[in-house]
Subunit: 416 residues, 4 copies
């Protein structure tokens, strides 16, 4: 009876219409675990700098699935066998690949659920769902875990050329309005092929790959690691860390139940272990209720908290009066740090011993591309495979694979 | 030194770069009152149907200001005098015209702050800000209140052709992906002129106006009054009403401080009265801390509330398993209502007396266009002015001005 | 070996990548008859007003085929049987549906090949091609001629909702930059269905259809019948008519061989007759060499022709100093005509007897929609079919089906 | 009265509305010299590969002027003085900078008007126009010739960051549908500044510049030097060279008057010399009548010419059955050339001595960027200027400035 409803079409401003092609997909999307992603922004606090970037992880997951469908069609056209079951499983796997992201994911991993990657949590969610769905996710899990013999299916989901990246760069470009980050996702997908169970790009696509790598890099510096975005995230990390410290001392912090669970318990990797098949239902159930709104409400609430460090940081986050930041190619000179610390202590003698919460240095870095077993291979007409780092006459291997690092110092705006 | 920072450029995916042209504008945008709009979705729960529609009221306010700048430039080019002070004031007025929107505005007005329009609250915020800014908003307030002699400035902010509408249709179209709703905002603005202190459209723009009216109508039915959007909003209204009822009985409802204030106090129009100059700081301060996140966290929290009506409705909102809806041109037959009520009572005998919360009828309606003193006038080359309802050979006056009404019934999904 | 090349992908700025899905399609596209369309602008002289509108009939034919593929996929998904042969034939038919267009088609039909419609010529080309291709176009011809039992296939190619229209409105919108003409072609196609061998639109698509009809109307007035476009076309008609008159008197007119053929012979409908199966190879061969470039070169050449009427009109076309035009809702008053004639004769006594070539009146008109056997039917959930003119509460039947007519007078610019 | 008409708005699909801000600009656009550009495709024969690329040089000239206006506004906002006269002159200069382009410009320079660059011809046109306009182009000519003291104005028109490039990359991207070539023209323009009379880019724009250089490169390989585009151009060069050879022998070639002039006379650089102030009116007048249509009509006419080399090449161009091409990183091995020559002679013994017309090798190359006196300088906050080749950590100096060269061989399709 409801089956007919399971053929659904979703409007997406980036890709147009997204069709749900498998009944399993429809059921997964309806599940509260997946719906939670509606309230988790794909780019966390980036919307403080690029106001348009309010798009959710749910949209991205749908978009990645759409591109995967396109890739599978292309590969089938080129004579590669992909069964309907495999297509469904790959769709499910990419739909769920980010389901373990918490709110402001990066900030959370540095404060509340220390050292737990979102991949671990995603796998945990998938195991739980597989139980609920009576094993219908078995194949999807194999692809996700790269234990399925057709490894190219895993590469479509996680690799240098995965549909995850294709969608997020295109989508982030669209929502931030940084139009120059535009990549030729359609063209790259049309140029995909498989050689020895490896995803490769046909030679005609080489310039699209160059452009893709450069566009990704541009998005890193212009958006993902934009100095104000970094400053916002650092401010949030400090806020959450302070809250965690207070919680560990038993101080009361009015927050939602789900958030309270993670503040007052020490949750780590072991709670999401694969081997355990995620036995700890409390952890996953609480995580499944945690999204951006819990954090933002907490920040607003804490403005009036008696702890002055917490309240000061909370106000910064809630009112978007975040820490100032200076970014540079070299480490920040110690004199600069010291000078700011002295000025801070003069201005806020009562906070002297807590200066670390407000003035600190660190670094951010990116790799445009890592050659090696994860490399992007170009397929020439003579059937030769060449690593993009060699194949490109523009992007020489060193420039591509070198890590680019920038150093920063954060400090309160009033010290500017 | 900081003044230079007040020349800022903001990236907007809809309009490109938005320049902040006046120092006052920069200061207003930095204010927490305005920043609050970042966490209020322009289209409320519409993102449950159109996942892309996560854009905020902040973006819309900036976009409307951008179009206003464009309109002012055009009008100046045609020889109309608009001083820099007037331009700044009009910019401020349109920037702040929606600042009084609460979270899920429509739902709120039907439940928590009954009968208070967002215009009243916007005015209240503007008065408060005018105090803080030492009267720099005097002129903006006159334009907003339409007491300023150049009435066309008010029309640019609020009227059949205001920049508010131009931006929201363009923006909602962009974010929902309903591309056919596209309007020629640029063209309409280029065709604006002033006759007798009235905003008019030059004859060459008549087809753009027709298209604008039809596009607006399409957006109403396809998006704003989409049946699932209406159902979601109705579910939220029921949830908030139930919470208000419980609060009035003194039942404890764990919510954020700001939300608590509005649940446990009876706030009405008098608290935002213009005459009072918004003397009641507590009201406005609490309102200024209220956004979408408070409501969403409350819904998640209430899933575990002992009141079964509240918890059932809360789960619907939190998990996007909202009420079902049937929409029709005629009122819903009483038999249909009765049949559903009987089935509901059989299925949920414990909720029998609360059936009104789950099964109810109502109607939605739109006017494409209201002729009269708010009419859109077309300026012909012979200087004649003709109402669009007459000027258009397509959109005859009746069709345009008739109210279109649809009736609906809501009921729990399991009764489908 | 070459077969692999017949899987081709073409870049299209409007639709993205267009895949050629059938070998027959590849061969048709490679044929010089089809390639000729590269040098025929879809919108004729419109590029004199909208400089971006330089797109060719070849692009449009490819685009219409792309949308047809999409429509066929959608209909198959809904359970309607369309065989691969039918799909190929329908693709071929829409690809070739406009192959009989001459350069500046409308102008030509009024001057050089009087009274021969481009449909007749298209059919003629298809018969010729069917011969060359050994009957591979038999089925395509049946669909084109609507003699094939599945009539909905013909409707996809020629009807109120055909893919021809869907593509040309979308494409003309894109190239002229009149963005407000945007239609939801994708959405309309997704809403197509078949009832009793008739193409219908599901009820959810009603607003998209309203928008489509209004957008088409807007494009008519803003682009296709833009007053300067009409004036340009009228100037060209006068030029070609004068050339034809001179040719009939044996005056030498230096033109290309193909154009010469049509100037110096009287070609009419009988030469393209269906019954004859287009036996006259000379006619079709010459037509197959005629495109925009022949006309434009002729105009440039004639600037120096001794006939002063021809040379004056030629200069107007070549230098884009076309006739002036006045457009109005009522017929042009005879006094206005007389006044202009008198002034013309005073200014150009030597052209007095040829005044008809420079000053003349006529009218243009459009029907937004013709109800009747070609109507657009809306399919309701209760399986009822309703004509859009009834189904729409906005576009009332009269407004829709009434012919809208505008009258004009043309005269040389110097009389303004 | 007519002055009001000189405030005109032109619809452009790339930039939206283009306003003509100076009466001089209006008059220049109306001139037949400028109107000629409507019939010259910006990308010549590229439309044989990318069917959408039918845009004209006229559109590009208008677009470049639009971006120049934007750049001038930005620079004025940053405190740089640019008078209205300078702005008008710069607008005129960029509008006319390409007015000397002939049809299929590159092919022409290699065959008919050997060794005359389009810049020389553009200057010639400007001198002529300056005469007609009574010196109103004096200042524009100084800027064009870089003799005007404010050299940054010249750089805006011709340099590594000129508005010519900004427009053509954006426009070619749009019309070919190669969306990944998208550049952030708006952002780059917003980041422009002037230091020591030199156009520089503020440090925040560095990634946009990287992206611009990579996008340009991508457009070179994917579009401008696409192998089929190169093959088409080479085929046309061979056709025109053959025609020129025949003409020099007195053979009759039916072509338009303007084309005849250039075929039967030896026109070279001296005819467009700056010192002569373009005294030879016949040359410039004939050039002013030459556009794409003359060449295409000639090709169609020559299909029936008795010279079999000419007719064979003509058919290739007219029917788009152009020469095949092989592109490689190394010079084509002599054996490959010999083998093809032998096969050709066997297949076409009658053409044995003319094999050079059908089989030949050559190379194409590009420089992504040339550092030196034309370099792109990045302006850091400490007022330091750094060449982009140094400033970028990605695009290392060598990769950027090295010439990239590809070798090719052309031969008739039937030898594949």
């Amino acid at each position: 009876m409801v089956e007919t409803n399971k053929k659904k079409i979703i409007n997406d401003p980036v890709h147009g219409f997204i069709s749900l092609n498998h009944p399993l997909i429809f059921d997964l999307i309806e599940h509260p675990y997946f719906q939670r992603l509606r309230n988790i922004k794909q780019l966390g606090l980036t919307y403080l700098v690029y106001p348009g970037a309010t798009h959710s992880r749910l949209q991205h997951a749908l978009g990645a699935m759409f591109l995967l469908d396109m890739a599978i069609s292309t590969l089938r056209t080129k004579g590669h066998v992909i069964t309907d079951d495999e297509a469904e499983a790959a769709s499910a796997a990419i739909l769920l690949h980010d389901i373990g992201h918490g709110p402001f994911s990066h900030a959370l991993e540095y404060s509340i659920v220390k050292g737990v990657s979102h991949e671990e949590i995603s796998r945990c969610f998938m195991y739980k769902l597989n139980g609920e769905f009576n094993g219908r996710l078995n194949l999807a899990l194999q692809i996700f875990d790269n234990t399925y013999p057709k490894h190219f299916l895993h590469q479509l989901i996680s690799g240098q050329l995965d549909m995850d990246r294709m969608d997020y760069i295109k989508r982030d470009t669209f929502y931030t309005g940084v139009s120059e980050g535009t990549i030729g996702a359609d063209r790259i997908i049309k140029m995909l092929n498989i050689v020895n169970d490896q995803l490769v790009v046909e030679a005609k696509g080489i310039y699209s790959i160059e452009n893709f790598l450069i566009a990704r890099r541009l998005m890193y510096w212009q958006v993902y690691l934009h100095k104000t975005v970094v400053a916002a995230e650092q401010t949030l990390i400090k806020l959450l860390s302070r809250a965690k410290t207070l919680a560990s001392k038993g101080v009361e912090l009015k927050v939602s139940a789900a958030f309270e669970f993670f503040l007052y318990n020490n949750i780590n990797s072991s709670h999401f272990s694969k081997d355990s098949n995620c036995f700890d239902e409390t952890v996953i159930d609480n995580f499944a209720r945690l999204d951006d709104t819990d954090i933002m409400v907490a920040a607003k609430t804490w403005i009036n908290h008696p702890d002055i460090i917490l309240s000061k940081l909370a106000r910064m986050v809630a009112d978007r009066h975040i820490l100032s930041i200076e970014l540079s190619n070299a480490p920040v000179p110690q004199e600069r740090v010291n000078e700011l610390i002295i000025r801070f202590k003069q201005a806020h003698p009562e906070l002297a011993e807590y200066v670390d919460n407000f003035i600190f240095t660190d670094s951010v870095s990116i790799n445009a591309y890592k050659p090696g077993n994860e490399s992007i291979n170009i397929l020439y007409n003579n059937h030769q495979l060449v690593d993009i780092a060699q194949a490109s006459d523009m992007l020489n291997a060193n420039a591509l694979s070198n890590e680019t690092k920038k150093f920063f110092i954060c400090y309160p705006k009033e010290l500017r």
